[in-house]
């Protein structure tokens, strides 16, 4: 029996070794090829970056010399385009990229969309978004026929949000995949205000984390038009929604009516008290001072810390802090006040 095993083992080892040898040779060859490809790409960049610069800055008009001739030159061009998109915001440049990509790169990405490799399709969609290739929206829609991964569905939605609002809404509201809040925020950040309005209209029907994402986005946009909506959310039964709404209102920076917010100062949920410690900073010290002092003696360390920081931001905050240190019996509050005072010195 052992003899058989040894033979088997020896054969197995030889087989595997031969296999690995082939892999090794394959890798070496491929590495060499890759190096050559990389060189092609880099030389396109080197030779053409000034030309592209001048075209983007309206110093020269369009010339066919700019059109890349093969796959690797396209990769070089992608790098150039991406740099311009990520670093500069000029609309004229973005328009030129859009125009060029729609005209001369459309076929390349069309092919990539149809590829069987997941990474090719993903890359193609990334570029479609980056370079505003709206002429490929329908090709993207056609992708739905396959079984798409979650990442692909996300990118599709992103494409719709830029190029086809109606489809975006339709798809968004009928989503079967659950995304993370982060992904929702990325989707909604660039969305038009009309779409946003429509989402607010059917707010109650949306799942919880979509609701939270929308509220966060309203805060990010800092548009005071949404203030009344956010204030209405303060009465919501879900804690998380209330907390997010407070946060968004803080970002907008307006308190219309302090009475609405009073219950939060005494809330049993520390996050709500924390948000109030931040939010009160929006009001003048004469109105907020008393409440902030109260929060300075709160039982939660975070609330106390935030209350002290907020007081410290006022012009007369220093005075109030010193007063607190003298008068209060709460040593924790005094400690906090001290820390903020010391910080202010620098």
């Amino acid at each position: 029996m052992i003899e058989i095993s040894i033979n088997v083992l020896i054969r197995g080892i030889i087989l595997l070794s031969v296999f690995l040898l082939f892999v090794c040779i394959y890798l070496s060859i491929r590495r060499g090829i890759e190096v050559a490809h990389l060189q092609k790409k880099n030389s396109y960049i080197k030779n053409n970056q000034t030309l592209w610069y001048r075209y983007f800055r309206d110093e020269i008009s369009f010339t066919r010399k700019l059109i890349p001739k093969d796959k690797f030159e396209i990769q070089g061009l992608e790098e150039i385009f991406l740099v311009y998109i990520k670093h500069l915001s000029n609309e004229s440049i973005q328009n030129k990229i859009k125009q060029f990509s729609n005209q001369h790169l459309k076929q390349y990405y069309q092919k990539k969309l149809k590829s069987r490799k997941w990474s090719s399709r993903m890359n193609a969609m990334y570029r479609i978004i980056d370079f505003y290739i709206d002429s490929l929206v329908n090709d993207c829609k056609a992708l739905k026929a396959r079984n798409l991964s979650a990442e692909e569905q996300f990118l599709l939605l992103k494409i719709y949000s830029s190029f086809d609002s109606k489809t975006f809404l339709k798809e968004f509201l009928s989503l079967t995949v659950a995304f993370s809040e982060f992904e929702y925020k990325k989707l909604l950040a660039g969305v038009s205000s009309e779409i946003l309005e429509e989402l607010l209209d059917c707010f109650d029907k949306l799942p919880l984390n979509v609701q939270c994402s929308i509220i966060d986005i309203l805060g990010i946009k800092r548009n005071s038009e949404y203030l009344s909506f956010l204030e209405s959310m303060l009465q919501h039964e879900n804690t998380e929604i209330r907390i997010r709404s407070l946060k968004a209102i803080y970002a907008i920076g307006i308190i219309s009516d302090l009475n609405q917010y009073m219950p939060f100062i005494d809330s049993s949920i520390w996050e709500e008290r924390l948000m109030m410690a931040k939010l009160l900073g929006v009001l003048p010290l004469s109105e907020a001072g008393l409440h902030l002092e109260k929060l300075l003696t709160d039982q939660s360390w975070w609330v106390r810390s935030q209350a002290a920081t907020t007081i410290g931001k006022y012009k007369d905050g220093e005075k109030l802090l010193k007063q607190v240190i003298l008068e209060t019996k709460d040593s924790f509050a005094a400690d906090m006040a001290n820390e903020v005072l010391k910080k202010r010195v620098y």
Partner: protein, 472 residues
């Protein structure tokens, strides 16, 4: 005589069986890794830049425990400062160093003493002073009484202000996008992921300067090359395949992120243990299952971190002994999770795997070596037995290593020069003849140390990674 025969045959069979199982599972894991890597192979990772804005990311405190790290601490902090991450705080904890660590940091970054109210969520040895840098207001230094690495980390947690923290050794370097990558699972998960870890690679021999890697070269030190091979194999066979089923038990202590709330809930790092980082993960797994939380721990397969591998045998020996001892300690402390259905996949699959493969496995392998030697001299069937085992070992050892190197070279291209890849391959063929047995012996020593309950954080001499300190 017959009894001896039976005993030998029994052990022989046991070893054979064990090897067969291991080879089989390694092969499976290799195939799984291959497919995973293939899928992500050409993906353009530029998308990471998109969530670099402050509004999308969650703020992180980086805790750097330091004990006599004067050689590498400055470089380490520099690499942290050049991280592309909007809201980050760096808390360096000087755990009673006896060298110039603190003075160097204070001088280099112009630190001034500040008053800070510390939120003492975890109990630690007393903190003496807290400093803040004048150049970088988000860089803090804590001076405290010596209490060990875990104690230092806990102090860092107390002082940190952000809801997430990550830990990093004083002589580890991160890349610019490291923090972004390791936070990815957390950001993408609606706070269901409460801990994440990143893979580590070896920096020795690379051109490293002030936190940036310039050129990827292979070290000329044989010991370092062996460790590189080990790391690659462990990564591909262990972490890549297992992460899919979230059976992560050990997160590389060199770089991992935790949610502060939950870490505090399990009382932070345990100070009486050696493998405190692994043990924290186990505690979190336990908490998740005991409280029936909908949380999980994820592992980012991308390598995100560089570390200095020991270059001398004696230091490497201490390190391996410590690791193994820490592993067994953590497993032992939570041993009731083993085969316990209450703890789900972690208890039923992960724990047994680690007991068998990581803990006892080395003992069996060591036994295998000894067995071969004995059997060789005993003659007859034992002689052939020895040969068979030999081939098995070669299969298991060398070939898998070579395969790992090739897979890594294909998918991740850490060492762009093909010459380096050849060298890695050649060296890995010889691994089982000298390096493997050595590491096995050291792990055995760790096992013994566990039995004897020796613990210490260790006084490991480091050469520092900056160009000046490195003679490669």
């Amino acid at each position: 005589m017959k009894i001896l025969d039976y005993i030998l045959l029994f052990f022989g069979g046991l070893i054979f069986l064990y090897m067969a199982i291991v080879i089989l599972s390694y092969s499976c894991m290799m195939i799984v890794s291959f497919f995973k890597l293939r899928k992500k192979y050409q993906l353009d990772n530029e998308a990471e830049d998109e969530y670099i804005e402050a509004i999308y990311t969650k703020p992180v405190s980086i805790i750097v425990p330091a004990f006599n790290e004067e050689a590498g601490i400055i470089d380490s902090i520099h690499s942290l400062l050049s991280l592309q991450y909007p809201q980050v705080e760096i808390v360096v904890v000087n755990d009673g160093s006896t060298d110039q660590t603190q003075q160097k940091v204070i001088e280099q970054f112009q630190m001034k003493q500040i008053q800070k109210v510390v939120h003492e969520q975890l109990s630690t040895k007393p903190i003496r002073q807290i400093f803040q840098s004048e150049i970088h207001p988000n860089l803090l230094l804590i001076e405290k009484e010596n209490g060990g690495k875990a104690d230092a980390l806990n102090a860092g947690i107390n002082v940190s202000k952000y809801p997430y923290f990550c830990t990093i050794d004083g002589d580890t370097l991160l890349e610019e996008k490291s923090l972004l990558r390791v936070m990815k699972p957390i950001i993408f998960s609606n706070e269901e992921v409460i801990a994440a870890g990143g893979n580590v690679r070896i920096a020795n021999g690379m051109d490293v300067h002030l936190g940036s890697v310039f050129q990827r070269k292979l070290s000329s030190n044989l010991l370092v090359v062996m460790q590189i091979i080990e790391y690659v194999r462990a990564f591909l066979l262990g972490r890549m395949a297992l992460s899919k089923f979230n059976l992560v038990l050990i997160i590389s202590g060199a770089f991992s992120v935790f949610s502060k709330q939950w870490a505090v809930e399990v009382n932070g790092y345990s100070t009486k243990m050696i493998g405190e980082d692994m043990e924290l993960v186990v505690k979190l797994h336990r908490l998740i299952k005991e409280k029936k939380l909908k949380k999980r721990i994820e592992f980012v397969p991308e390598p995100v971190c560089w570390t200095e591998a020991p270059q001398h045998m004696s230091i490497l020996r201490k390190q391996r002994r410590r690791w193994h001892q820490g592993l067994i300690e953590s497993l032992w402390k939570h041993r009731k999770m083993t085969f316990n259905p209450k703890y789900g996949a972690v208890g039923l699959i992960s724990f047994p795997y680690f007991w068998m493969v990581e803990c006892f496995g080395p003992l069996i392998e060591l036994g295998g070596y000894i067995y071969i030697i004995i059997a060789f001299f005993m003659g007859d069937i034992y002689y052939e037995f020895a040969i068979a085992l030999c081939f098995l070992f070669i299969l298991y050892g060398s070939l898998f290593s070579v395969a790992s190197i090739l897979l890594e070279a294909w998918a991740m291209n850490t060492y762009p020069r093909i010459k380096d890849v050849y060298r890695l391959m050649l060296v890995s063929l010889l691994e089982i003849f000298w390096y493997k047995p050595l590491t096995l012996i050291w792990r055995y020593e760790g096992f013994v140390a566990f039995i004897r309950r020796r613990k210490d954080w260790g006084n490991m001499q480091h050469g520092g990674l900056s160009k000046k300190g490195w003679t490669e």
